[in-house]
Symmetry: C2
Subunit: 110 residues, 2 copies
Amino acid sequence: MTPPYYAVIFTSVRDAKPDDGYAEAAARMEELARQQPGFLGVESARGPDGLGITVSYWESEDAVRAWGRHAEHLLAQRAGRDRWYERFSLRVCRVEQARSFSRPEPGEPV
Amino acid sequence: MTPPYYAVIFTSVRDAKPDDGYAEAAARMEELARQQPGFLGVESARGPDGLGITVSYWESEDAVRAWGRHAEHLLAQRAGRDRWYERFSLRVCRVEQARSFSRPEPGEPV
């Protein structure tokens, strides 16, 4: 992925209850997102303190907007406010620079 | 924080070894970052699969750049490549839209 592209940073604090349907919905949303035009990838982490960060990557602002308005995603957003999250923030960002590092395998020429 | 401002998304996979100095260095870097001009905040999560996401927020691209070149931070970056991370990605982004949600407390007027 070469910039510019878009990132949506979703940070949340869960209001976890057993069997509240969250895990199933999260998996379904990821499956749906992967099928959207302009989807580039997604990364997610939730620590033991309950703070979760999910970043999804998109080719364009239009792709971000279309996913935000997807009918099944809108239902999940509603359930998120009603049941799953104590609080969250959502930020739409334009990625301007990107670089990455990967450790060479032992024995691999550097 | 009203956009535009900047976010640095740092995603990493740790190469965790006991007593490798990582926890102390991470705490020290956060303490230092908070003292930098233009620092707005930081959020961090690492899941049980070892994937970590840290997002720091900055007033301007200049503030991002100055922190990236901070002497003690440069040493930590070196140690990160040499010892702490199997791989990482760093993305500098311009935050264009932001919104947040907080569940009303029970009994609180909505």
